[in-house]
C-alpha cells in the first residue's frame, strides 16, 4: 500500500484506531480522563506557546538536534551499505525516552496536575520522567517490576537521587507489563490529581498518538540530516521495538517516502522457536492488553504469556498499535535477533566505534549489520541508537563472569 499524507492524517481515527488496532480498552473510571487528555492535547498541539516551549526544552535541556554520525569503520568492516547512527544516546539522561517525557510533563503542567506516575522496564523512561519531574517540581512515582529493579539497579538509584519514589512491583511476571498494570491501578485511584506519563506508543488512545508525535522529532531530524550529509534519503531505517516508541519516532516522518525501507527489530530472546522471547509482531497474534488492541504474546486461552529478553526495555508482550497496522499493510518489516546476537552487536559497536549502545539498541545494531552486509556500498542504512549502555554494564559484566 502506498501511503499518502492524507491517509496518515486520518490516523488514528476519532476512536483512536489504526486500522483494526488501538482504541480505548479501559475501565470506565479512566474513560473521562482519556477524553479530556485527548481534547487538551489536540488543542495544545497547535498552540504556538506549547510548541515553542517543547522545542526550547528539546534544544536547551535535551541537547537536540542529536547528531547523525557516519560509522565509517563499522561500514568498512561490514563491507556493504553505509551505516549511519542517529545518536539518541547523546540526549540528556541517555536515551530517546526523554523526548516524550518532556512533552508529556509539559502537558501535565498545562493541565495543572501535580502528581506524575510512570511505568518503566529498563529504567530509562523512569529516569527521564524523574528528571523532568525534578525540574518542574512535580511529585513522581515510578512503577517497576521487581525483576527489573534487580537487573537495572543503577537506574533505580538514579531515580531515587532525582527524588522519585520507585515502587517495586511484585505481581505477575514482575517485569514491564506488571509495572504497567500497577501504574494503571494507581491512576484509577488518583485520577483527579495524577498525570500518567506512559513511556511508549502503547496504552489507550490518545497515548500512542501523543507519544508518536513527541518522538517524531527523531525522524524529522534524521531526514534533514541525511539529505544534507549523505546527499539522499536513507534506503533503510533500523530501530529496536519494545513498545515501539523509538522505532515509530524514526519511521513516522518517512512513511510516505516509498523508497525508504523500515525494519523494526524485536527481542528474539533465546530464539523464536523456543517460545522464550519478546517478539509479538514476529510470533504473536492480535488481542487486547493495556488499553489497546494490538499484536500480543498470549497462550491459546488468551492469557498473556511470560516474555524473555536480555534487555529489560524490550521485555514486553505487546507493542504499539500503529506498528501492528504497519505490519499488516506491509509498510514496515518486523524481524528479531536473539540475546546472543544483540550482545555481539553491543560488543561490535563498542569496539569498532567507541559507542556503547543500550542492550535494547544493540538489537537494532545486530540486525543492521546483517542487513547492511547484503546491500550495495552506495546504499544508506540509518540505525536509531535509542540509548546508551551505561545502565547495562552490570548485566554485561555478569554475563562475562566479572564483578564490578
Amino acid at each position: 500500500m502506498k501511503l499518502t499524507e492524507e491517509m496518515l492524517k486520518a490516523l488514528p481515527d476519532a476512536r483512536g484506531h489504526f486500522g483494526a488496532y488501538g482504541g480505548r480498552f479501559v475501565s470506565e473510571t479512566l474513560f473521562d480522563s482519556l477524553l479530556t487528555l485527548e481534547r487538551e492535547y489536540k488543542r495544545l498541539k497547535d498552540d504556538p506557546e506549547f510548541q515553542a516551549e517543547f522545542d526550547k526544552d528539546l534544544a536547551h535541556y535535551v541537547g537536540r538536534p542529536s547528531p547523525l554520525y557516519f560509522a565509517e569503520r563499522l561500514t568498512r568492516e561490514t563491507g556493504g551499505a553505509q551505516i549511519w547512527l542517529k545518536r539518541e544516546d547523546l540526549n540528556h539522561t541517555g536515551a530517546h525516552k526523554v523526548n516524550n517525557t518532556i512533552g508529556q510533563a509539559l502537558l501535565a503542567s498545562f493541565l495543572g496536575k501535580k502528581r506524575v506516575i510512570a511505568e518503566t522496564g529498563a529504567g530509562q523512561h523512569g529516569v527521564a520522567t524523574a528528571t523532568v519531574c525534578a525540574r518542574l517540581g512535580l511529585e513522581c512515582h515510578v512503577f517497576m517490576g521487581a525483576e527489573d529493579v534487580k537487573r537495572q539497579s543503577l537506574n533505580v538509584y538514579r531515580m531515587k537521587l532525582l527524588g522519585a519514589e520507585v515502587h517495586s512491583v511484585q505481581s505477575g511476571t514482575r517485569t514491564l507489563k506488571d509495572a504497567m498494570n500497577d501504574a494503571m491501578r494507581d491512576w484509577v485511584a488518583n485520577v483527579d490529581d495524577t498525570f500518567y506519563i506512559i513511556g511508549t506508543v502503547a496504552g489507550p488512545h490518545p497515548y500512542p498518538l501523543l507519544v508518536r508525535d513527541f518522538q517524531s522529532v527523531i525522524g524529522r531530524e534524521t531526514r534533514e540530516q541525511c539529505l544534507a550529509q549523505a546527499g539522499k534519503l536513507p534506503d533503510a531505517l533500523v530501530a529496536c521495538v519494545g513498545g515501539g516508541s523509538n522505532a515509530i519516532g524514526m519511521f513516522y516522518p518517512f512513511l510516505t517516502d516509498e523508497s525508504v525501507e523500515m525494519y523494526g527489530v524485536e527481542a528474539g530472546g533465546l530464539g523464536i522457536d523456543t517460545g522464550k522471547h519478546a517478539a509479538p509482531l514476529s510470533a504473536g497474534r492480535p488481542g487486547v492488553l493495556h488499553g489497546n488492541r494490538t499484536y500480543l504474546m498470549e497462550d491459546e486461552n488468551g492469557q498473556i504469556a511470560a516474555t524473555h529478553s536480555v534487555s529489560a526495555g524490550l521485555d514486553y508482550p505487546g507493542v504499539g498499535p500503529e506498528h501492528s497496522w504497519l505490519k499488516d499493510i506491509g509498510r514496515a518489516h518486523y524481524v528479531s535477533v536473539t540475546d546472543d546476537e544483540a550482545l555481539d552487536g553491543f560488543r561490535k559497536l563498542t569496539r569498532v566505534e567507541g559507542i556503547m549502545p543500550a542492550l535494547e539498541t544493540a538489537h537494532a545494531v545486530a540486525y543492521a549489520i546483517k542487513l547492511a552486509a547484503t546491500m550495495d556500498k552506495d546504499k544508506v542504512v540509518v540505525i536509531n541508537i535509542s540509548g546508551r549502555g551505561d545502565k547495562d554494564i552490570h548485566t554485561i559484566a555478569q554475563l562475562d563472569g566479572i564483578e564490578v
Binding site: 474513560f31 498494570n181 484509577v188 485520577v191 491459546e300 486461552n301 492469557q303
Partner: protein, 270 residues
C-alpha cells in the same frame, strides 16, 4: 425477558434488593467452584458474578489478583469456566450467572464462538471490565441476538452524557463502581454513592447495582437502601484465600458472611 431481568423485576415487586456475590472461577480450585456457587445461592445470592481469571487484571486490587493467580495456577481457562456454569445449571436453572472478566480471553476464543458457548452453558450476562460501549460495536449485537445481557460499568467519573449512552447499550442492570480505585481498595462513601445513584436513576430505567467497598451487613444495607442491588467481591475472595485449605470450613465462612448481608437487605423491605 432475560433471567436477570426476571429476577430483578420479581425482587422489585417484593420491595427487596438483589444480593450479588462475586467469586473468581477456579479459586481456590476449579473442582470447588460449582459447589461454592451453590453455597452462595443457599446463603441468599440472587445473581452470581463469576470472575473469569486473567493474567493481567488491571482493574483489580491484590485480593482478586491473587485469586486470578490461584485459578490460573490450576489452568482455569474460559472454556472450563463455561463448563462450570453448565454443571451449575444441572441443579440450578433459576439463579442468573454473569461472567465478569477482561476482554482478551473472550477474544482469544473468538467472540461469536464465545457468545454461543456462553448461551449453551446457561450464562445470562457478560461484564467485560476493559470493554467500554465505544469498543463494543462488534460484540454487542452477538450478545443481543442471543438474549445475553451486556452489563457495563458506570463510575464516579462518568459524565451524564456517558451515563445515558452506556445505559442505552446495557441490559439487565448497570454496575455502578462506588469509588475511584481498584477492587478491594478504598472506603465507600455512602452519602456520595446515594446521591450519584439517585442521579443515575433519573437518567436510566435500568436497575442499578453497586459494587466496590461492600464488605458487611452495614455497608450492604446502607448501599441497598439507595440502589437496586449490591455486589460483594473482595471480602468473599479474601475469605476464600484464608480458608482455601479446608473446603467445608470455606463454605461455612462464605455463608456466615453472606447471611447477615441478606438479612440486612431484607430488613430494608419491611
Amino acid at each position: 425477558m432475560s433471567r436477570i431481568e426476571g429476577v430483578l423485576k420479581a425482587l422489585k415487586g417484593q420491595g427487596r434488593k438483589a444480593l450479588i456475590p462475586y467469586i473468581t472461577a477456579g479459586d481456590p480450585h476449579p473442582d470447588l467452584t460449582v459447589d461454592l456457587m451453590h453455597t452462595l445461592v443457599d446463603a441468599g445470592a440472587d445473581i452470581i458474578e463469576l470472575g473469569v481469571p486473567f493474567s493481567d487484571p488491571m482493574a483489580d486490587g491484590p485480593v482478586i489478583q491473587l485469586a486470578c493467580e490461584r485459578a490460573l495456577k490450576h489452568g482455569t481457562s474460559l472454556r472450563q469456566v463455561l463448563a462450570m456454569v453448565k454443571t451449575f445449571r444441572e441443579k440450578d436453572d433459576a439463579t442468573p450467572v454473569v461472567l465478569m472478566g477482561y476482554l482478551n480471553p473472550m477474544e482469544a476464543m473468538g467472540q461469536e464462538k464465545f457468545a454461543d458457548a456462553a448461551v449453551d452453558a446457561g450464562v445470562d450476562g457478560i461484564l467485560t471490565v476493559d470493554l467500554p460501549p465505544e469498543e463494543a460495536d462488534e460484540v454487542a449485537p452477538l450478545f443481543t441476538a442471543r438474549n445475553l445481557d451486556a452489563i457495563f460499568l458506570l463510575a464516579p467519573t462518568t459524565t451524564d452524557d456517558r451515563i445515558r449512552a452506556i445505559s442505552e447499550h446495557s441490559s439487565g442492570y448497570v454496575y455502578y463502581v462506588s469509588f475511584k480505585g481498584v477492587t478491594g481498595a478504598g472506603k465507600i462513601d455512602v452519602d456520595e454513592v446515594a446521591s450519584k445513584v439517585a442521579h443515575i436513576h433519573e437518567l436510566t430505567a435500568l436497575p442499578v447495582g453497586v459494587g466496590f467497598g461492600i464488605r458487611d451487613a452495614a455497608t450492604a444495607a446502607a448501599v441497598g437502601r439507595v440502589s437496586d442491588g449490591v455486589i460483594v467481591g473482595s471480602v468473599l475472595v479474601d475469605t476464600i484465600a484464608r480458608n482455601q485449605a479446608d473446603p467445608e470450613q470455606l463454605k461455612r465462612a462464605l455463608s456466615d458472611l453472606l447471611h447477615p448481608m441478606r438479612e440486612a437487605l431484607d430488613s430494608l423491605a419491611s
